[in-house]
């Protein structure tokens, strides 16, 4: 069950909000240096936005717009909202720029037809479905970033299930925010440390308890390599999309993909 809680520390002017079971994970927000009231308002706006996006993009909940598309688009074209339309077009752009390695159909993006005039989508084959697992958190982060800007939040740490992180400004006792990446196969082995300052960090990879959840859309094969990929970028959506794409990419593809984006850094760890 989803639950939300928040706390405010007067001494340090730190707000912490936490939301569980959102987009399949947990969401945490830490704001530094804002009043209790402002922080509370920001937290409310964010919670509402995340719930709205979850109600739109979650394919495991039957009532969402995406579930409706998944259920009916193979039979007849489905009229979609403006926002979903923009998202689908954006996913197509990412698909092209990643040479097919980012694919919300997980197998054949060409089977998804977008009809611009009517703003409808249809599937060319019956077993197709859309999955925003490698996209939604990045998209959400971008929306949340806009909320933070609206309320002039300068220092905060936004954490989506530890795999998508966005940090503005700095830690109260540092000049940035630091996160470390641990090898999930060797507890205690720190693979690297990232210094975030107005940047987002997305991570994907296999863990001992969760392997084979990433599929190479070109070959259809599950990726079971012990690798972990981290992408840092000012754009949280780029970071999120590319971790998934690059984990399937070979060196040549990686080079070509990375060159098309303005990334701060990418790191691939063999575990």
């Amino acid at each position: 069950m989803r639950s939300s809680f928040d706390q405010y520390f007067d001494d340090s002017q730190v707000f912490h909000g936490s939301l569980t079971e959102i987009m399949g994970t947990r969401f945490d927000l830490v704001i530094v240096g804002k009043s209790r009231d402002i922080s509370g308002i920001v937290w409310q706006s964010m919670t509402r936005e995340l719930e709205r996006l979850d109600a739109m993009l979650n394919r495991f909940v039957p009532s969402t717009e995406i579930s409706v598309i998944n259920k009916t688009a193979a039979t007849s074209p489905v009229n979609v909202s403006e926002e979903i339309w923009e998202i689908l077009c954006n996913c197509r752009t990412y698909h092209q720029k990643t040479f097919g390695l980012f694919d919300i159909t997980l197998k054949d993006f060409s089977q998804l037809e977008l009809h611009a005039e009517e703003r409808t989508v249809s599937f060319q084959q019956p077993n197709l479905f859309l999955d925003f697992g490698g996209y939604a958190k990045g998209y959400a982060m971008k929306q949340l970033k806009a909320i933070l800007e609206d309320y002039k939040v300068e220092n905060c740490f936004v954490d989506f299930g530890n795999s998508a992180i966005f940090a503005l400004g700095r830690h109260p006792y540092g000049d940035s925010w630091k996160v470390s990446i641990e090898n999930p196969f060797h507890k205690g082995e720190i693979l690297g440390e990232f210094t975030l300052n107005n940047t987002a960090l997305s991570t994907s990879g296999n863990t001992p308890s969760y392997t084979g959840h990433i599929v190479n859309p070109l070959s259809g094969e599950k990726i079971e390599d012990r690798v972990m990929l981290c992408v840092e970028s000012e754009d949280p959506l780029d970071a999120e999309v590319l971790t998934t794409a690059l984990i399937a990419a070979d060196n040549h593809q990686t080079e070509k993909i990375v060159s098309q984006f303005d990334l701060k850094q990418t790191k691939k760890f063999n575990l």
Binding site: N162, P172, I190
Partner: protein, 443 residues
């Protein structure tokens, strides 16, 4: 910490206490540092127009270090200096030309316009001068260790019970911000139960001062001879054993050890290499080592807990296995901010942290600018608490309020040093003698 450029009344100590978070109400902090409870902002304000009239007895390198600290203090005034070695007296006199010069401290003590004396003499003089100063009605601040023998220490302790004068010993770690905050963390359970303590002090230096003529050897290099010094134990270990007692709130019951002159075979009488084990009644042990012909290991005061390690000298701590302060990155982040620590928090993969010997990530006791004593100076390190404790003494000279626990801590630490020397000299286990136990001690 103390900012000397600001010459305002007691600003140094005020800022220091403020930095500790004392003013915003810290009952927990106060139980860690009861000796700071006199220094409330109100007290500081009450005495802002007064000056303690201070005399410095022993104006060698350490005495001059204190003079440098006293000069900018608005609530202190150096009125007299005393030394039996003329070059040192002259050096000090250049620093405070208006202060009267003495070569006999007893004459100095007769002077009615002196509130307190700062004693920075060789160890064998401590007891005599401290006792005479108290008898003369002076407040006294004396360098560590307390005295050269256990009987002298006991005599000072007993005299202190009867006097209404203030007595401080320069146990500067008690006023060192990173030690205070680190102790608070230990006492709050951050590193779990204290299961061991490891302290060491390594230098590579002969511990000698140049001697202008041979007949001054014993006077100038007093640290090297047993009639004036108890060697590494009272000069170095005393601070570290005090830290151990402070951390455990206990006194070890027994000690074994070995001491030797390994490298500096130059006629000195005190060991240049000591290794000791102090044992508490719980079985927890202090492992103490000091060697002055290899400095690789530097100086460290480590308190080992079953959940983490506090390295007070470096101002860092390390946690064992799963961090009990939080199981997610965010909880760690919040705990860090609460402790004013800036460190990486884990992202991705399985959340949280090393159960390994190789990978300990340091956390900082205090963030920002703080000083680490590399242990190499023979005079004193910058911002190690010495100036704060001296400033506190000067205020106590005005208010007349005794410093809580300071004499007791100095007594316990010095006794442990001297018992350690006895264990090494006699090559046997020494149990804490009943006749030197005081009510302050918990075994």
């Amino acid at each position: 910490m103390l900012k000397k450029t600001e010459k305002q009344v007691d600003l140094g100590l005020r800022q220091f206490i403020k930095d500790l978070g004392y003013i915003s109400g810290g009952a927990a902090l106060l139980s860690t540092i009861p000796w700071l409870q006199s220094f409330t902002p109100d007290t500081l304000n009450e005495i802002k127009n007064e000056k303690a009239r201070i005399a410095v007895i022993g104006t060698g390198s350490r005495g001059q270090y204190h003079i440098h600290a006293l000069l900018p203090m608005q609530h202190a005034e150096i009125v007299a200096l005393c030394d039996i070695y003329p070059p040192n007296l002259e050096e000090a006199s250049k620093l405070c030309p208006t202060a009267r010069k003495y070569t006999d401290y007893r004459k100095l003590l007769e002077s009615p316009d002196i509130d307190g004396v700062v004693i920075a003499t060789p160890l064998n003089w401590h007891a005599l001068i401290v006792l005479d100063a108290l008898s003369a009605g002076k407040h006294a601040f004396c360098e560590k260790s307390m005295a050269l023998t256990m009987d002298q220490c006991k005599a000072i302790y007993d005299a202190y019970q009867k006097t209404n004068k203030v007595l401080y010993f320069c146990m500067q770690r008690m006023f060192d911000e990173k030690y205070i905050k680190g102790m608070q963390m230990i006492h709050s359970g951050l590193i779990g139960d204290v299961v061991g303590l490891r302290c060491h002090w390594f230098r590579n230096h002969d511990w000698r001062r140049p001697v202008p003529s041979a007949n001054l050897e014993r006077q100038i290099n007093w640290r090297l001879y047993r009639d004036s010094s108890a060697g590494l134990m009272t000069e170095l270990a005393t601070h570290q054993l005090e830290v151990c007692n402070w951390a455990t709130k206990r006194i070890p019951q027994s000690v074994v050890g070995m001491g030797d002159i390994v490298n500096w075979k130059d006629g000195r009488e005190v060991y240049d290499s000591v290794s000791l084990t102090y044992r508490y009644s719980s079985g927890v042990k202090i492992t103490y080592e000091s060697l002055i012909s290899n400095k690789f290991n530097g100086m460290e005061d480590q308190v080992l807990g079953n959940k983490g390690t506090m390295n007070l000298a470096t101002g860092m701590y390390y946690l064992e296995g799963v961090d009990n302060t939080g199981n997610s990155g965010i909880e760690q982040l919040l705990s860090q901010i609460g402790n004013k620590v800036f460190a990486a928090i884990p992202a991705a993969g399985s959340s949280w942290r090393p159960e390994t010997k190789k990978e300990y990530k340091p956390h900082y006791i205090i963030e920002g600018d703080y000083n680490i004593n590399d242990g190499l100076s023979m005079i004193g390190a910058v911002k190690d608490g010495s100036d704060e404790i001296l400033s506190a003494f000067c205020q106590a000279c005005i208010t007349g309020e005794k410093g809580k626990d300071i004499v007791e801590e100095a007594y316990c630490a010095t006794l442990l040093c001297l018992l350690g020397n006895q264990a090494m000299d006699e090559q046997r286990r020494i149990d804490f003698p009943d006749e030197y136990k005081i009510p302050y001690m918990n075994f």
